[in-house]
Each structure stands twice: as structure tokens, then as C-alpha cells.
């Protein structure tokens, strides 16, 4: 119950599609989504991201297909061409739900097609179709031309052309973003995947499930961040714009400052007023945090408005919305695109103005003009320009819109994240800023090593269920463990789920260490240790104390059971894991 026990193995080189069994003990030990994908990478993690044999894996979770809140999601897993790390990204939309309805827990794709191809799944059938006519097309046109085949996930020109932060776009507008898995898919000449399915996911204990679901919904209603009148259900994640400005931690002008006086132009209320924002969201999600304009255009998230806004010194909301739409159409990550433009701006002494952004984005996707260099991401660009200090990234992944000088847990979480500078692994913004489940002191490292470790384990489990992290601004693993138990008939409590999360986290870390990552990669850009942020209104934003940072990182290694170089000391943990 909960799982189908099947994956679709696709070999693009040979043109074959076949259903294979997934051992039950693997599903029980890794759940699905991120965990299952990471486990399935075990024999492949050393391959180059563009090696044809490198798999790209789409995996749903055991809750998908039920009406568990926020769980119609999947994870996409491979190795990132941008960071070189193991990489996963969670995305919502009907695709995940339909994949499960086609009787699959995962799609495992290897090889490289001789010609552009589309993988079409319809119930028990799966076939590879020629896609030459779609190659070069934008995401909208691609999705529209395939919609008769069910849900679509596709790449745009950025993925085809190997932009290192190319996305895979879900047909409903969600994205598999950040680490460039769109380029991995493009390298395989796989333009899109379509899926149609009619199956249902049975629930082992309906009464227990209904009670757990009611508990989750009650906690959603009790959470000001979720259903509060100023929360993300009402304003989307741009609800954070005003808060980050007030907390003096909005990355501005390539992180040279942490306050942007014009951020009110793209705040949640401003977007609602100016764009007629209406509620949209992932399939079956009660929160509906995505927002669309009155014309149905997807509106940008918090990280996107900040990075096309403050980070580049742009205050024109409509230019920001256009940049977001263009990235979606071209299939490109908004955070890395905007941050790379910002690094470029600092290096050349002039940030791009609002009118320049669209053409630069098009150049990136097509790797023409300056776009050739910009398509490599900020770290490679900065090194090429002889200004490595302007890349605001960790492990080559551009930092999102939470300045680490304003939240020390975030500073630590950026460097311990297995996929590089990402806010969504330990997600300490939850307690350092949003006060959930309880507040912690954002200007203190005290206890943060342990807190970050626990949160990484929790979120690895959440990404494997696969549920949305926003759900955990209200609910906890207590309630989601109940949902999982009710669906599968296998008892899972919070501690059991955290143990699974720890297993997943350590597996990822092991893969990375085997590929050469170590303590030297677990650090922030120098700027954060030497330059203050923009204080004001009684808030002082000093540089991060390097000594305390290092001390806490060493504590973190000890808590994780790692050596002082952040490694495994010769131990092969894979031999110890299921």
C-alpha cells in the first residue's frame, strides 16, 4: 500500500522502456522522491553529469495519489552540472499524481537518444517518440503541443543548449530548478515526458488517514505563515519581501548591501495590487501559494523578485515579472540567472538595467554573445573575469534571497547543504525569521549545529514523502508520520522518519566526498566574513564571525559523525546502509 513497487527503466541509447520491480525494503528504507532517487544513484554517482550513462530519475512518494495535503509532488534526482554534487529538486503539479496513477513510483532514464525524443507514458504503455519538430521550441509551445498526451514536463532552449542552471519545467508552471537538471535532460536529447494514468492509490486505514488529515489542516489554519491573512496562501512567497526588508537581510546589489529602499514595489501587496494576483498552486494543495496574474501568467516567487529586483538594483515590478516569465519560457532557473547577472554587473561595474535583462536572458538560453559566459553560472563567470570574489555561491550554487549575515543558522545551512547554496535543506528561516515551530536567535550560533543537523534530516524525509516544506510551517512529522502510516500500513513516527532522513543525507554527503568535496567547499563567499550588511532601525548587521562559524561547523561535523575535514575517514557508509 502506498507504493506501486515499480519503476520505468528507460534507455535512450537503445530506445527501450521496461517496467522493473523496486525492492520493498528499499521503498521502506528510503520512502520515495529524493530518498529513492538518491538510493538509485548508488552505482552512478561518480559519472560526469553529462555522461550518457548518468541517470536522471523522477520519483514520487507513497502519499502521492492520496489527498494528503501538499503531497502531489515528485523529486528529480541526478548529478548537477552546475555544482558537481548529487542533486535533487522537488516539484508539484499534476505530473506526479498522473505518474503514480500510471502505476509507477519512479522513472529511471539513462543513455542518450540519437535524435530529440519525447517519452510518452500512458498507463502501462511507454514509448519514445521523435521530437525533432519540438527541438528549439519554448516551454509553452512544447507543453501545448503535447497536452493531449496528459501531463507534460519539458525543457526549453536553455536545457537543449546546456545552460548549467537550466530547469525542467512542469506543464502547470512549476519548475525543477536550481542545479541544471534541464541541461542533463537536454544532453540526453530528451525534450519532454508526458504521462497519463488512471490508477488510484489505496489507503490502508481510511479512518486513521482522515484523522491525520484533519490534524494537518487544523495546524495549517493555526499557522499565520500559511493561512494567516498576511501569509503565503494570500500573497504567495513575496509575503516575505516586507519581512526581509524589515529584518535587514534582503540581498542587494550582489550582496554588497542587505536593504533595498524600493523593495515595496514588488512586495506581496504590491504584486496583488499591480498584477491582480489570484491564487494558484500545485495540484490538490490547499495552500495555493503560487500566484498568477489576471491573464493567467505565473507571477514570481520571493527569491525571484528579490534577485531580479534588489540584487540587481531594479525596482520595476513589471520588468521583474517579465524576467520571470522569460526564464520560465526558456527553461532557466530564476535565482541563478539573476545572481549570475548580478555577479556580472559587479565585475563590470554596472548592474544591468531593467530594459537590458530580457535580451541578456535570451542570450544566456541560446548561449550567444555574453550569454555564453553567463550560461556557466556565477562561479565560472567570475573566475573567467578574474574576479572570483563576486560569485555569491556555495559549491557553485548561487545563494538565494536570505542574507547569511542576518541569520546565522542560514549561514551554516548554506555550507552544509549537499546541493550547495540552497535555503531549502535545513530551512532555518522557518525558526530564525518565521518563528516556526519556535523562534531561535538569528544572530547567534548557539545550538545551531545540532538544529541544522536535525532539520536536514527532517527535510530529507519531507522531500522523500514527497511533501511541500511550506506544510511544515504548521504541521510536523508527527502528523505526516500518521498520514504515511495510514496510507502504507507501516508504522512511521517522527523519529523513524528522521532516521530515514539521516540515511539519505549521509548517502548524499558520501557521494559528494567521493567526488572530492570536503571542508574546503563548506564555506561562504569571503564578503560575508569581512563586510557588514545594511543596518538600520535598531538592527546591526555585522560580518559573520569567522571563528564562531568555523567552530560551529566543526561541531556540526562531530554531530554528524564526520571527521574534521567533513569526510568519512575512510569509512564506506554505503556498505552499512540498505
Amino acid at each position: 500500500m502506498g507504493w506501486t513497487g515499480k519503476l520505468l527503466h528507460v534507455d535512450l541509447t537503445r530506445g527501450t522502456c521496461e517496467r522493473r520491480e523496486i525492492p520493498t525494503e528499499i521503498l521502506h528504507a528510503y520512502l520515495g522522491g529524493r530518498g529513492l532517487g538518491v538510493r538509485l544513484m548508488r552505482d552512478f554517482f561518480r559519472l560526469d553529469p553529462f555522461d550518457p550513462d548518468m541517470p536522471i530519475i523522477f520519483a514520487v512518494g507513497p502519499l502521492c495519489g492520496t489527498n494528503s495535503p501538499t503531497a502531489a509532488r515528485l523529486a528529480c534526482v541526478s548529478r548537477s552540472p552546475l555544482t558537481g554534487t548529487i542533486y535533487d529538486c522537488s516539484a508539484g503539479g499534476r505530473f506526479a499524481w498522473r505518474l503514480k496513477a500510471a502505476g509507477l513510483d519512479a522513472i529511471f532514464i539513462t543513455g542518450q537518444s540519437a535524435q530529440p525524443a519525447v517519452l510518452a507514458i500512458d498507463g502501462a504503455r511507454a514509448e519514445l517518440l521523435p521530437a525533432g519538430s519540438l527541438w528549439g521550441k519554448g516551454v509553452k509551445e512544447t507543453v501545448a503541443s503535447l497536452k493531449e498526451r496528459g501531463s507534460v514536463t519539458a525543457i526549453g532552449p536553455a536545457g537543449e543548449n546546456g545552460v548549467l542552471y537550466a530547469n525542467i519545467m512542469m506543464g502547470e508552471g512549476n519548475s525543477i530548478g536550481r542545479g541544471g537538471l534541464g541541461a542533463v535532460m537536454g544532453g540526453k536529447r530528451l525534450k519532454a515526458i508526458t504521462v497519463q494514468g488512471e490508477g488510484t492509490t489505496p489507503v490502508a486505514d481510511r479512518e486513521r488517514f482522515d484523522a491525520a488529515r484533519a490534524d494537518v489542516m487544523r495546524l495549517f489554519r493555526a499557522s499565520p505563515v500559511i493561512f494567516g491573512e498576511l501569509g503565503i496562501s494570500e500573497y504567495g512567497t513575496p509575503a516575505l519581501v516586507d519581512l526581509m526588508a524589515q529584518r535587514r537581510m534582503a540581498p542587494t546589489e550582489n550582496f554588497r548591501a542587505t536593504f533595498f529602499a524600493d523593495s515595496g514595489n514588488y512586495s506581496g501587496p504590491a504584486i496583488k495590487r499591480e498584477c491582480g494576483a489570484k491564487k494558484e498552486g500545485c495540484y490538490g494543495c490547499p495552500i495555493q501559494c503560487k500566484k498568477a496574474s489576471a491573464q493567467g501568467e505565473a507571477l514570481p516567487e520571493y527569491e525571484t523578485v528579490n534577485h531580479f529586483g534588489a540584487l540587481n538594483g531594479i525596482s520595476d515590478l513589471h520588468a521583474i515579472v517579465r524576467a520571470n516569465s522569460l526564464c520560465n519560457e526558456l527553461g532557466m532557473d530564476t535565482i541563478s540567472a539573476a545572481a549570475t547577472l548580478s555577479a556580472f554587473g559587479e565585475a563590470r561595474g554596472r548592474f544591468p538595467d531593467a530594459s537590458e535583462v530580457a535580451s541578456l536572458l535570451a542570450d544566456i538560453a541560446h548561449r550567444s554573445g555574453d550569454g555564453e559566459l553567463l550560461s556557466l553560472g556565477s562561479r565560472r563567470l567570475a573566475e573567467h573575469l578574474g574576479h572570483s570574489e563576486v560569485s555569491m555561491s556555495v559549491k557553485s550554487l548561487e545563494l538565494p534571497a536570505y542574507d547569511p549575515r542576518g541569520a546565522y543558522g542560514m549561514a551554516l545551512a548554506y555550507v552544509t547543504s549537499n546541493r550547495g547554496g540552497c535555503h531549502l535543506r535545513a530551512y532555518p528561516i522557518s525558526h530564525e525569521i518565521l518563528r516556526k515551530p519556535v523562534p531561535t536567535d538569528r544572530f547567534s550560533f548557539s545550538g545551531k549545529a545540532r538544529i541544522i543537523k536535525i532539520a536536514e534530516d527532517v527535510n530529507a524525509a519531507v522531500d522523500s514523502l514527497v511533501a511541500c516544506k511550506f506544510a511544515f510551517f504548521g504541521a510536523t512529522l508527527e502528523e505526516y508520520g500518521e498520514l504515511l502510516t495510514a496510507v502504507t500500513g507501516v508504522e512511521y513516527g517522527p523519529e523513524a522518519l528522521k532516521a530515514i532522513g539521516e540515511r539519505i543525507y549521509l548517502t548524499e554527503r558520501f557521494y559528494n566526498c567521493e567526488n572530492g568535496f570536503s571542508r574546503k567547499d563548506d564555506t561562504l563567499p569571503e564578503r560575508f566574513f569581512t563586510e557588514p550588511g545594511s543596518g538600520g532601525e535598531g538592527i546591526d548587521v555585522p560580518p559573520v564571525d569567522r571563528e564562531r562559524f568555523s567552530e560551529e561547523l566543526q561541531k556540526y561535523y562531530r554531530i554528524r559523525g564526520l571527521d574534521e575535514n567533513g569526510g568519512f575517514g575512510g569509512r564506506n557508509i554505503l556498505e552499512e546502509l540498505p
Partner: protein
Amino acid sequence: MRDQIDKYTEKLLADRSACPDGIAFAAQDDVLITAGAQGLAELAGNTLSRLNSLALVAARPSLPFADFLIARADEQEECIVPQDTETRTFLHDIPFLRQKDLSGDPSPVLAKLLGNRKGVIVEGVGIVAVGAITVEQAFINYSSVFHSTFVKYLQDVLADGFKLPGEREAFEEFRSHWLRPLSATGLDFVPSLPGDKEAILAEIERVGRYTVERGLVDSFFGNISAVAGELIYISQTAASLDELKGCIDPVPADNSSTTGITASSELLAHRKIYEQTGSRVILHGHPKFAVVMSMLCDRKKECSIKDCWKDCPHVRDLGGTPVVAGEIGAGGLAKRVPPVIGASGSAIVYGHGVFTLGREGFGEAFASMVDVENFCREEYFRRVEEEML
């Protein structure tokens, strides 16, 4: 972390929820530390070391209610299920271990139970509660369990009387010695709230402290606000009312800014109350007798509504204070309280707590909450005596 342990040990002593010689904490950063009463500290450390969490408190409650609930439970029961909002929303149920089932080191089985729930009762030992990421969280969970068992025991006594040897005596001891007269005397309030921001914040901080010191709020629940011009100043979500410095959000009445996303989940209720009553301040606490009495209903036997706490459309009355149903946050309380609170200046929410108003300042709101709780306390004991006769 030792300073945190000291701080929350002091809080447990100040709110008199734990016995002074029966408090222990454990916390783990890169090493495990324990502090407090020796046996309990050992139990706390052994248990926490088996959990992927940061802190744990093991303390002997100052009242025997939790143990009585276990002793009164049927043999096959393994948890108690209080019906108050706090338990329903955050704890769900409270597992327990019976003394007779304890042998040797109880920490493995305790860790297993705490692997699923925030707090556990160990008969004859105390309440053990875990904090996933902070010491404060362990304290909050202990307080929540203490509050829930307090409320449930009083409810059960009223419904079923005393069942165990020594129960009546303990109850009398609680009534005559543990409980203290509740009043607002000796407290200073600004008679009319000024418009100045700093003065408003100072008054809110002070009144917040009063609500905790006088026992009108348990753990970190409850909230407090004042309106001035176009701003509502409201305590933040998950803020302890006795530590509000820096934890009060000014929220524009027209929603032109979202900085108030960190405000209390009851922001909407406060906003609507201000719109409908023209009051200047609102106080919301969880005094225990009001919570107990709000769940009593004469019509339960003939009523078809099952989920009274959220679905009951009726407005009941407790000494002139209206009682309504409604879940917290966006769950219905914000619709049901504003229409009824204006006339009396106070309202009780089923299983949850009390809202009171001040037309000019907090003096009126505080006195009103004290009056509501005193009425409920007296009414509770009157009914207990009536049932016992």
C-alpha cells in the same frame, strides 16, 4: 545551553507546575549535558541520547492529576485524550507508562514513545517532554501537557467524581493550598493608552508579564494587542507573553505591508474585534477554569453536533460572558468571537481560552479576564459540590 536550562528551570518554579526538587533537563549540542534532580537528570540524558532532538525535560508535576488520570484509565488504555484546543491541535494525545510496566531503565521505551509524541507521562515519575530544536520547546511541551492534564482531570472529576483512594484529599489540598486567589490588585496600568509607539510597546510588554505572573496563560500561548491609528500592535506567534520585548509586530490595518506575517495567528480575530467594537486593546489568555467550564454543555445528550469545539453555532453563557465555538487562526474563532464580545467585553472560546477588551487601556481587559476566571473557578467548585452531594 546551560543558561537556557537555568532559565526554564526558573520558569517551571515560577509557574509552580513542577516540584522544586523534581526538575531535570538534558540538552545535546555536540555533547550531551544534563542538569537538575539526579535521578530525573539521568533519565533525561539517557532518553535524549536516543533521540534525534536537542532537548528534553523530565519533571515531577506539582499536582498529582496526571497520575490520577493514569490510575483512572481503563487497563487497556495507553494514552489520555484531553479535549481542550491545546491538546487537540498540538499534542493530539498524551501517551503514558504505568509504574507496573516499568522495569530497569525506562529510557528506551520512553524514547520510543517520544519518537512519536511531544510529551509522555510516566506514572510516579513525572512528565517527560522533548524539544526538537530548543530547550524552550521542551519547556513549552511540558507546560502544554501539564495544562492539558490539569484541564482533563478537573473535567473528569466533575463528570465522574472521585474514584481513587486519596483523590478527594489531594483535590482538597489543591483547592485550598495550591490555588491562590486570583486578582488584578497591585498591578499598574496606564489608564488611557497613549498613541506613542514606545509607550504602547512598554505597556503591552508589562501587561504580558502580568498575565503570566497571575496565571492567566500557560506556556507560550495567548496573545495581546493594542490599536493606535492605522496600526495594530500585536504579540508575535510563539511569543512568551512574559518576554515580549522585540516580539510585538506593528501591523498596518489596511494590509499594505506583510511584516505582520510573524504576528499571532489570532491577528484576524483581533482586527475584526477592533472593527466591530471600537476597543483599544485586546487580551487573550488560557485561564484553566474558563477552559474547563467552556466545554460543559447542558445540551450534549440531545445534540446531534459531534465536533462541538468547531461546529456548535450556539452562544452559551457563563456568568454573562458568551461562550462560542471556533478553531484558532483561520479556523472560525475569528468569525464567532467579534460579534459577541462587544456587549460584555469578554468572550470564551470552547476549550480554548478567554478574550477580553479594554475601551481605553489594559486595566479593564485584565480585570475582566480575572473576573471571568474567578466566576468559572467558583462555578466549577459549586458544581463539584453539587455533584458530590
